[in-house]
């Protein structure tokens, strides 16, 4: 058992400061009786990349979606800053969502629209209905979009239709869209599941760089343990809707992984502590 946990403090919490994100006893029970989340609690007190791992059905996706209430939690609290998201009325929820940027596994871009329009959809929370209809966004949003395109390596693609892009390019658009919101928190749901291994690493690297630059926390669902170890500051392992592990990636041992996923030859997956950082490519 971890010393910090024994002292009552939560990992990642800066002593004396209110955590940026605090999940308390989050529970989700589906009508069928399935307990997707069972009393999940943790806090993110500093800007860090938190990887959430676990087998399919362990509750990773449900957890991420409960945070911005795309899925309604059954009970528990989700505090972003000082407000509890779970109890919020619709209006305030929309305001809260504006502060949370979400990146999806299947990119979830509107394929018939151009890259620029998809980016601008990140600002929908801040403009009115007719502005959205006529695509009239403030100049600061437009230049911000161009800057982000540059940053994610898609300069010049603003007029391309999304269905003409490759998987890796589409995910970059998805990342840029989330950042257009200038969010206080990034929720990332399996960003690399639909990508080839090399592109997956590039995307994870990009996400990590962006989160670090902006000094904002990021929760990343990921099923690839090696990727989680390479790019995360902290790992939370879920099993059957409960937190089974919460600590630095170096502390992931074969025993822990067995507890989270089940018995398997973990020697190929884990990077033991002290390994060099991956070579730049």
């Amino acid at each position: 058992m971890d010393i910090l946990a024994a002292a009552g403090a939560r990992p990642g919490q800066r002593p004396g400061m209110r955590p940026l994100l605090s999940i308390e006893n989050l529970t989700k029970v589906y009508p069928s009786g399935q307990r997707a989340l069972d009393g999940v609690s943790f806090a993110v007190g500093q800007p860090e990349v938190v990887a959430i791992i676990g087998s399919s059905g362990a509750g990773k996706s449900t957890l991420i979606r409960c945070i911005n209430r795309l899925v309604e939690p059954t009970s528990g609290q989700v505090r972003l800053g000082d407000r509890d998201i779970v109890g919020m009325p619709r209006r305030e929820l929309r305001a809260a969502r504006r502060r949370i940027g979400m990146i999806f596994q299947e990119f979830n871009l509107v394929e018939r629209l151009t890259v620029m329009e998809n980016l601008l959809s990140g600002r929908l929370g801040s403009v009115g209905f007719f502005a959205a209809l006529l695509r009239r966004f403030p100049p600061s949003d437009i230049s911000g979009a161009y800057a982000l395109l540059d940053r994610v390596g898609l300069a010049g693609y603003q007029d391309s239709r999304v269905d003409a892009l490759s998987g890796g390019q589409r995910q970059r658009v998805g990342i840029a869209r989330a950042l257009m919101q200038n969010p206080d928190l990034l929720l990332v749901d399996e960003p690399t599941a639909s990508l080839d291994p090399k592109t997956a690493r590039q995307i994870m690297r990009l996400i990590r760089e962006l989160a670090t630059e902006r000094r904002k926390p990021a929760l990343v669902n990921i099923h690839d343990v090696a990727l989680a170890q390479s790019f995360a500051d902290r790992v939370i392992g879920l099993k059957s809707g409960r937190v089974a592990f919460d600590g630095p990636p170096a502390a992931l041992s074969a025993a822990t992984l067995t507890e989270i996923y089940g018995a398997e030859d973990w020697s190929q997956t884990i990077r033991p502590a002290g390994d060099e950082a991956e070579t730049p490519s």
Partner: protein, 271 residues
């Protein structure tokens, strides 16, 4: 590009989805449609005065329809059955004629350019004329009665079915056809074994779909004298027997909904 580099650059603050030229074209289309709408409404001879009291008339009409005269029901049972007969027989006859027509109208199975043109012309003629209009034509030929109705339904269905089947024939897998041809089979056999099985699912599904539409069409064929329940509806309206009208409408509603349900069920079972 790194964060530092992007922070130092200047970026445009305006973005247009369409180029200036494309925008103009878009506005021209919108203007054209608006003009067309304005022209069509203004040129029509509409007595706007009627709009004033129309809702009162509607309520009056509704009141006169209630309560429905259920005693009229036994009278229309036979015509209802006749309506279904007309629809079913008409669809079947249409099906029989549509298969050869489809082969004629498909580019890959027709004999030459001339026959293809004839096939297409027959398709277009059949599909451009509504069932009820065909009813007018056949009543003039055969006199009033269900025979005219059946022919009318068949005439409209032939084109409908043949067009969809012709499309399926044109999209048929060439490989399978070639395989049969390579065995030295006669052309008709090639069509029978190579193409027809591929086209079967489309054919059956479309026929059932058309049957269900035809039930609806047959319910009004009686207006032009081509048999079915339409005659009784027409007569009831002309006699201002509104309570009977409601009963007839309810009966039509039932058979149309029932046929739609049957059609959806069978089509779901087939696919």
């Amino acid at each position: 590009m790194t964060a530092l580099e992007t922070a130092q650059k200047r970026y445009p603050e305006v973005w247009r989805r369409r180029s200036a030229r494309a925008s103009v074209v878009g506005w021209l289309w919108a203007a054209a449609i608006a003009c067309a709408a304005a022209w069509s409404v203004s040129a029509l001879d509409i007595e706007w005065v009627f709009f004033a009291d129309a809702h009162e008339q509607a309520i009056d009409l509704a009141r006169r329809m209630w309560p429905p005269r259920w005693s009229y029901l036994p009278v229309i049972v036979k015509p209802l059955i006749e309506t279904i007969h007309i629809a079913t027989l008409g669809t079947l006859i249409g099906l029989v004629f549509s298969v050869p027509l489809a082969f004629l109208a498909a580019r890959n199975t027709t004999l030459n350019g001339f026959t293809w043109a004839i096939g297409r012309a027959l398709l277009v003629a059949s599909r451009s004329v509504n069932t009820v209009i065909w009813g007018l034509v056949f009543v003039a030929i055969f006199g009033p009665g269900p025979v005219a109705g059946i022919c009318a339904v068949a005439a409209r269905s032939v084109g409908f079915l043949a067009k969809l089947v012709a499309e399926a024939i044109e999209e048929a897998d060439r490989g399978r056809v070639e395989a049969i041809e390579a065995t030295g089979a006669a052309t008709s056999q090639v069509y029978l074994v190579g193409i027809l099985p591929q086209v079967m699912p489309v054919l059956i599904g479309t026929t059932i779909y058309r049957w269900d539409i035809n039930v609806r069409e047959s319910s009004v064929l009686g207006f032009v004298g081509a048999g079915g329940i339409g005659l009784y509806l027409y007569a009831s309206i002309n006699q201002f027997a509104w309570q009977q009208v409601l009963v007839v409408l309810a009966a039509i509603l039932v058979i149309v909904i029932a046929s739609e349900a049957v059609s959806a069920y069978i089509r779901a079972r087939i696919s």
